[in-house]
Amino acid sequence: MIAETLERYRKYTGEANWQRIRHYATVTEMWEDRSKEYADRIAIRDNGTDYTFRQLAQDVAAFRSVLKARGANRNRIALLMPNSYDLVKAFLAVVTSGCTAVVLPAHLQEKEAFGTKMMFDFSMLVTNAPEKGALLQQKFPDFPVIDPAAQAEEPSEAVPCEGKDGCAIIMTGGTTGRPKGALLSHTAVMQGIINSALGVSETFDQRYLLALPLSHVFGLIRNLLAALNTGSTMMICRDNRDLFRDAAMFRPTIMVLVPALADMALALSKKFGKNMFGDSLKVIICGAANVPQYLVEEYHKMGVSLYPGYGLTESANLVSGNPENLNKPGSVGLIFPEMEYRIENGELWLKGKNMMDGYVGVQEDDAYEDGWFKTGDLVRIDEDGFLYITGRIKEVIVLPSGENISPAELEARFNCLPVIQDSQVFEDQDENGHRFLALEVVPRAAEVAKLGSIDINAYLIGELQKINAGLPSFARVSRIEVRTSDFERTPSMKIVRYKKCQ
């Protein structure tokens, strides 16, 4: 199926915005055009300095000369540094030199930097921490390790390229959890940028406050590149501890956040009785993990529209976004126009301009079938075309009765209670080996506090049992436990799932 959502997105985006969207063939073309169009505006604010689009374009052109002098020629160039103006400049310089940017997570150390060279075969490394390139230089004498502050006397012109050429390699755990890189072409990244402009009226001329790493597609495409394409200003928050001080000074109109950060900001806003991001904030684009309905509703009360979305590194970020967040709070929205999709045994399969050209650094033949990328996500689409994520294939529990249970689908039901922060449904077994479904929940402390001096445990279990009773009988949990601490989490804040019945 092809998602025929163009006209609906046009309506949500608004005609004035719609007319300003341009379908560039490459990121290079986009940058060349937009940097002239918005030359006098501030593109980036970092570390107390404002850089206009003109200044950034000049610095990018000068850094292209630095790269050229060190051998940049349609090869791969790795970037290893924290979010900064220098990273923005280096990324644009690499891409507009006709090279592919390997954007590495800033926390990688010397040995890991060497490991990624073996995986992604890059020809030079740009880093503000030269010691991280030491092992590389020891093993490969003359390997170029470049300081992002290096200067050149003359600028270099952008090198034209085609849509099919590589633009970026972004690291991901992918659908199997093994680290690898997704190779995104200019066409894919450009489609990701265009999708970023759809579905909300707050699109052009915005003020973005960057709180996510640029080594992740959500930060790189939905935040940085979306901002540059729309004449918006992006302030870089260098330290998340300064997030709200930066917000008070910068007054962002839009933020791109993962649910954990949005939830934390909400708790602080409630505690101190004010929107901690400031009153200018109108929109939060939220994704990269399951977005609880609670966040949509609570932010709405503060006058902020929080839009859940769904995307993957492999799809250059966005697959769907939810412009009807209040009417469909549990949905991740409408699939973006012209994305091809199929639902096979409940699993979402994708094709389209925004899809990667494949993984780099690892052989994963089973990621595709008949040319379709298999997301590993279980979904359903309602009668209005809205997409719902119901679970992950690998997490499906097959009950002794043969019935399939998607834990995420059940958890979403229990998580509807505002007093529940998180939950996990899993299969356990008793001493006789009989298997059964169990539920553990983590209460939301701020909501628990409102309940006063009642028996919290009994109250929670009572509320959860009411939901349980409404489930199909085979899907009901037989044991409910209220935890006193959070679940174990992965580094990306996802819950580590129990495996009690292997």
Partner: protein
Amino acid sequence: MKMNRNEIIEKLKEILLFADDSSNDKIDSIGAETHLQNDLGLTSVNMLYLIIATEEEFGIRFTDIGMNEFGTVGDVADYIERKLS
């Protein structure tokens, strides 16, 4: 703002009630020796919350210390006491 150590810890408990996703009982029993990660299971995002809320509540800045350098509630209280004096 002049506060004694007990008052500081009481304020911290109030903040932790929002930061930590656990029940009231556990927060009530918090003392100076309670370990932030081992006892309360605070995640990195919870720690960020704790730092920001503490700065807001006490009007101080955590300028010269990393988030992971605090072990216990008492460590945080010591730091605040130093900053306030």
